[in-house]
Symmetry: C2
Subunit: 423 residues, 2 copies
């Protein structure tokens, strides 16, 4: 088969239907397909039920040239994806020696005992190609069929294991190169990421650009406090490789959104803040209260963060604020632990404690319920540097405990990136 | 309509098909439906495309009595769910005054300016009931139809907003009571949560119970290092309200899985560890290195955590380990920052610093790449109490940076719960 015009993603697992697992696999694969220029118009989730699984396969195959299925390749009796795929195509399962050897090696390498059910994972549909699993036991399956039906009727089914780490590594290393070579168009997307302005208001700022957009297209994406615009240029086969229309519109959107646009590209707000610190060879430390370590966790999520992040204190009690940061107990008494004054004292003390160029502090009421007669969602964030307090925010966040903490983290990184960008 | 025998979940949004957003909404609704005794056999994701959205609605309605749709109720032109639902049913959209007033009030209350597009959100399909949105602007929609077709052909479509906080609050407060009254059976599920043993091995331990299970059923759920078994008893209408078979099997599974079973119920591993500390009125502090604040973030995710968690230090550099915790630089030099010796010194110093009953330390190589000639995935965790080091683990985690950090966090909480449970 030469060209994959569209794909569908099928996720198999009763745990998905029961709401026990969030379907991160579909999001990952969808993102990779989009980047490769293969549109996908439907995702389906179905349980470990033979009839319903075959029904979904049949529908997906009727609509799309490529169907990617995740889950149900495990060793247990509930795992029936290979079986059902074989049955759907009227093929039998065959024992794949190479996969069996890999499974045995996986267990002996990790010093664990193999249970007999694990060898079931070496059974794959006849005529398919096993995809080695470098992170686990279940091989993937690549199945081309319908080639006898003539061009346009050829189909591909790819089965991938459900555990995200196994699936991702198999997808990136084995599936992506295969499907990229069969994509109908080349696409180039750019993302303009914004913070500090709502979806509607941001859209109003570029309304005319959106209304006029054909190719490239402009689309907004928002979720829980984070927003971005995606600009996508589709390049048909044989067309000139000219990105200038894309770059022009991206620049225009960026200019209009001004200070709210923190990134053109793929970096998150923490990554942008981290890179700004890293470029200047400057260091930061953290004094967290209501965020409890979340800002440090986000920073250290970035490989190489130790060059910038020297450490932090999580001072969750008044006593620890006094004891670790040497904050004046009278100050806390007078203004409250959740106050501008305490936030400033936290940042300044923390900076001295760690000897960093900057220090950021957060103190607030995450809720549920008020504290010190301040309502849940009251958060003070302070950024200190050698010049003293260089940035400060008092927030009233109208969200639940999780939302208050999440928005506090994003605001903290936004303050760092604004300060270091001179906004 | 009296009884909803099954439901389907439809998620609308090009951002889902593009992989920009993970579909947490479907997981949430699926979990709530399952708990309410309404099975769902299919979830679908579709983009903001009128034809394809109507096609999905038509398929879902043909299979299930209740179809819950999320997303596409926003103010932008891409948001077409109400429109498409009305078109699918051959109805028109009508302006709902009450919803319009609520939208206006939402903006004036939060001191923000309303953009004209927001009033579009007050347009709902004729004959439907608007569900007030207490966390945002878009009302939900409840639509009963087909009642003229006779019993069994009656259908319900419910439209909910896409932002998770708005959707969840609307679902819990308005949708759940409505559908609970229409569930065909009462179900009771119990979850036995385990840690420290793989899926296959755990299943082998209760193989005969699984093979024999009819009602209650036993099903395993595993994701990224966490595993559980769900035992579900289905009680048909008119049947005696007798849970003894459920309780008996749960107890048997729990007994067989022994020390690996940390919870029968809904509590996560951090919550179990937290509750054990809380029950004993004991406090803990944290000294994190490679986890960078994640353990503190997980603890403070629990409302009321300040009673137990006094604070922590994130000592991401050798210098901060020495400076904040007073660890001997020679010790770090001799054994390395990633070593049993350093982990023990971190926990013991941290306990003194915060004056807590316990202190837990983590130091490791999250990767990518080795450090101090130790491979990525090498992690030392130490739990100290008045008696000194009471628990210690040396881990070799064969995962990526994220996985190493996540498994370190889970192991940390597992050590706390084992220690406090006397295992």
């Amino acid at each position: 088969m030469k060209t994959i015009y569209s794909a569908e993603i099928v996720s198999v697992g009763t745990e998905l239907l029961m709401g026990q697992t969030v379907n991160t696999n579909a999001a990952f694969i969808a993102g990779e397909l989009a980047a490769a220029g293969i549109p996908s118009y439907r995702q389906s989730v179905v349980g470990d039920n033979p009839g319903r699984l075959q029904q979904v396969l049949s529908e997906a195959v009727s609509r799309a040239a490529l169907v990617i299925v995740t889950g149900g390749l495990g060793p247990t009796e509930d795992d029936i994806t290979s079986e059902c795929t074989a049955a759907f195509l009227g093929r039998k399962l065959v024992f794949d020696e190479t996969s069996a050897d890999r499974i045995k090696a996986y267990f002996s390498d990790s010093g664990r005992e193999m249970s007999s059910s694990n060898l079931k994972q070496a059974m794959i549909p006849e005529g398919s190609v096993a995809l080695p699993n470098v992170k686990g036991t279940a091989p993937g399956v690549l199945l081309e069929f319908g080639t006898d039906l003539g061009p346009g009727d050829e189909k591909i089914i790819i089965l991938l294991p459900g555990p995200p780490s196994e699936m991702r590594s198999m997808f990136s290393e084995q599936v992506l190169p295969y499907i990229e070579s069969k994509a109908p168009v080349r696409m180039r997307s750019e993302y303009i990421r914004i913070f500090g302005i709502g979806e509607s208001a941001a859209e109003e700022m570029i309304r005319d650009l959106i209304d006029d957009s054909v190719n490239p297209t402009i689309a907004p994406y928002c979720s829980d406090g984070e927003c971005m615009f995606r600009v996508t240029l589709t390049k048909l086969e044989g067309a000139a490789d000219d990105d200038s229309s894309l770059l022009r519109i991206v620049q225009e959107i960026r200019d209009r959104l001004g200070e709210y646009a923190y990134e053109v590209g793929n970096r998150s707000l923490p990554e942008v803040a981290f890179d700004l610190l890293s470029e200047r060879n400057e260091t930061i430390s953290l004094a967290e209260s209501c965020t409890g370590g979340m800002i440090g966790a986000a920073l250290t999520d970035i490989p190489g963060s130790s060059g910038v992040f020297k450490g932090g204190v999580t001072v969750y009690s008044n006593d620890s604020k006094i004891r670790l940061l040497g904050i004046d107990g009278d100050l806390i008494e007078k203004y409250g632990a959740v106050s501008r004054e305490t936030a400033e004292a936290m940042a300044c003390s923390c900076m001295k404690l760690f000897g960093t160029d900057h220090s950021l502090s957060v103190t607030g009421v995450a809720g549920p319920g008020e504290s010190e007669r301040k309502p849940a969602g009251t958060v003070f964030i302070c950024l200190a540097s050698a010049k003293g307090t260089v940035a400060f925010r008092e927030l009233k966040i109208n969200r639940d405990r999780n939302g208050v903490r999440r928005m506090s983290v994003l605001n903290a990184f936004d303050m760092i990136r604004r300060e270091l960008s001179g906004i």
